[in-house]
Symmetry: C2
Subunit: 450 residues, 2 copies
């Protein structure tokens, strides 16, 4: 099934909805389209259509669709459900997905949903709820297949055959002691080629990467990426007891979120920004960012104001000054983006900061010289004034050097103070390149032209 | 092993290198550190140290480390090797990694490396080389375990036991006909719970997602994410023959690259930008982007120049004009970022463009009104001039509306013409918000203040 097919199906749903053919829409939403596509369709729909579509989905299908929805959108539906419906819907979910959903619901509702579950399921979900959502404990699932080390391969096969099915993404059996202490893993690929009479203890991997429940999710993602894991056991740090396992499908979500986080933050947007959220809600969120930027814009204007007298005499300065500021901003944001990515990938540490700074300043100098020459040439033709050309060229070089300096050191410093460089970096950088740009250009002009 | 440990190990290598203790460094690089960490260390090192470290790595370990290096860095090392060394090193690589590497080497070297291989291996690699690197064919591996449909589960077990080991990430056996035509998959989890006397044909999945060799890699990634796959078979479109399989570890790389692509492109950076590449090389790459932005900066200056006479009379305009342009740029880049992400996630199509545009224009209007009021207030205090306050407020609203319009429609239009919206979007948007910002503010001032 290609992207094209999906688009055509979307079109089909939209058309059947518009034509008022409820039957046809119902048919598409309840089985004809895979749950993942229905989820995407809901996320791609404006609020009103989204609600209409959701109402056409049979209750028995809601659970499966819910787990593919972003948190923002699923909470929207769940918060409007009665407790009974909630219980019916959540019954079909895996324990980790259920825990994620419960985390966004009011305390009283959570208690009622938990009360409706069997004792064993409740214990599982409660244990998941006790870990932060962005830790290994919050990411894990409790659907492990465990075996004892003292049985033989042949008995393991017979034990497995007693199951009617194994959980998805089961690539290893987890070997535990009588007290549930984690001992090692037995990859299925190893089990399948083993002699039937060997004991599990002899062939299990004991040097498996174990993840403790409190490990932050980004470290979990790095481990999965580094070691090419499909699943990994999660243990309780103090006791060494097996708690569950994390599977690659959940890690892929973390990796995507992580990689997207920087891009969204740099524009002052939230990770869970819903493209189709209500207008007032979105306006309020974005207003904050615009407000912060207004402060920096007024700071830049204040700097220009300092040179009011100079501009009053030479109006060409007002025409040219945005060029210096803008080039500094662009050069700086290139450095900033690269350094933020380098930090995220773990390529940048105190060991190579100085080397990196030297490099960026040299790159800034080279590009400063090249473009200063071009700008000077263009300016001297435009205003027929060689002095202004010299001044704008000098200001450009100064600003590109500052851009390199701030672009490199700012994210590293912010990171050290525990501030997200992707979020705060851009605003501070632009403020610096604006202020330095206007200050150097108008300052030099005041000194040499008046 | 935590992030902290890795950093400490890096420190150890750096120190042992600086202290001239070659023995210690050699020990760390050849076995004491996992290959993935050595790769990261190399990528985090400036060119000179990188070369020094590489020279200390034993030839037998080079192959494993190479496959974890980014293309940019690995090509750097490979291009300096003699053909014999190259053959020795590449012998240890998996066929897909080898094909990726060969794609970056000169034709003559490729021929020699291929000639050194066994006929079977050569055929495999040549078949991989015949597909573009960013297609399913380029992403796949040929290490499949295939079985025939007419054998029983018991015989399948015996067949598997004849292998000394199964390839990593083997989560299913691939069922093929006598002529290698793909028939279905048999997940190991299904095999393990099956009755030994059933035939494979009875229990195999025939509705498996098959990927044709020409499928673009981003579609492959979407399929893996949507269907939570660990591996998927790749077939030749015309004949239906099984060619190989794609595994999640390679798809994770695609997903990360995809997600990073937008962020890097928006700053005019290449995907494979190496944080520690040579200075002249980097300068040249970034210069192009600065040059493009210089053109847009001059366009903005030209617009200001049109109002030279106005600024000459009211210098306050020069002080305030960057505020209007900057707020438009920020608001626009928020919309742009969100729409680019929405397109990448497949949430935005022609079906909801108009709704999205209405929404963004409304958000722009609300924020325009709010911040216009604030700016007007601040301006009237600063310059003690109510007329300028009215004018800047009106210009701000106009610019925020344009920002919403262009931020929404521009990426959708660029995409339709096959232009990468992340790359071209930002420059065009800033040009528009600068021009509209200066034009509306200075234009209104010329009409109402002179």
């Amino acid at each position: 099934m290609t992207e094209q097919d999906t688009l055509q199906q979307f079109q089909a749903v939209t058309e059947s909805l518009e034509s008022g053919s409820t039957m046809q829409t119902r048919y598409l939403l309840n089985g004809a389209l895979p749950a993942q596509d229905v989820a995407r369709l809901l996320e791609s729909s404006p609020p009103k259509e989204r609600k209409l579509l959701w109402d056409l989905i049979d209750q028995k299908n809601e659970g499966e669709i819910l787990q593919y929805l972003s948190e923002e959108v699923s909470t929207q539906f769940l918060s409007q459900m009665g407790t009974e419906e909630l219980i019916a819907v959540t019954e079909q979910l895996e324990s980790d997905d259920l825990a994620d959903i419960l985390q966004n619901l009011p305390e009283t509702v959570v208690t009622e949903v938990l009360a409706s579950m069997t004792a064993q399921d409740r214990l599982r979900v409660e244990s998941l709820l006790s870990y932060p959502e962005d830790s290994a404990g919050g990411l894990m699932n409790t659907d492990t297949i465990t075996i004892r080390p003292n049985i033989t391969v042949d008995i393991a096969f017979r034990f497995l055959r007693r199951h009617s099915s194994l959980p998805d993404m089961t690539d290893s059996l987890l070997v535990v002691s009588r007290t549930d202490k984690f001992l090692g893993t037995l990859p299925l690929t190893k089990l399948l080629v083993a002699d039937p009479n060997t004991s599990i203890r002899e062939i299990m991997d004991t040097e498996t990467t174990v993840i403790t429940a409190s490990t932050p999710e980004n470290e979990v993602a790095q481990l999965f990426e580094k070691l090419d894991l499909v699943s990994a056991p999660v243990i309780e740090e103090a006791s060494g007891k097996l708690l569950g396992r994390i599977t690659i499908d959940d890690v892929v979500d973390v990796i995507r979120d992580q990689a997207e986080h920087s891009m969204l933050s740099m524009a002052g947007l939230d990770d869970d920004e819903d493209t189709f959220a209500p207008i007032l809600y979105t306006s309020k969120r974005r207003a904050v960012w615009l407000g912060i930027n207004l402060i920096t814009a007024f700071i830049a204007s204040y700097v220009i104001g300092l040179f009011q007298a100079t501009i009053d005499q030479i109006v060409a300065l007002a025409i040219l000054m945005p060029i210096v500021a803008s080039m500094g901003g662009i050069a700086g944001s290139q450095v900033l983006t690269l350094v933020i990515r380098g930090i995220a990938l773990g390529h940048i540490s105190s060991a190579n900061t100085r080397w990196l700074l030297n490099r960026e300043i040299l790159v800034g100098l080279i590009n400063g010289l090249v473009w200063a020459f071009v700008v000077a040439l263009l300016t001297s033709f435009w205003f027929d004034d060689i002095k202004i050309a010299y001044i704008i060229a000098s200001a450009l070089i100064i600003n590109l050097l500052f851009a390199a300096l701030v672009g490199t050191l700012l994210p590293i410093t912010l990171k050290r103070f525990g501030i997200d460089p992707a979020l705060a970096g851009g605003v501070i950088l632009t403020t610096v390149t604006d202020v330095v740009g206007f200050l150097s250009f108008l300052g030099l002009a005041t000194i040499f032209l008046l």
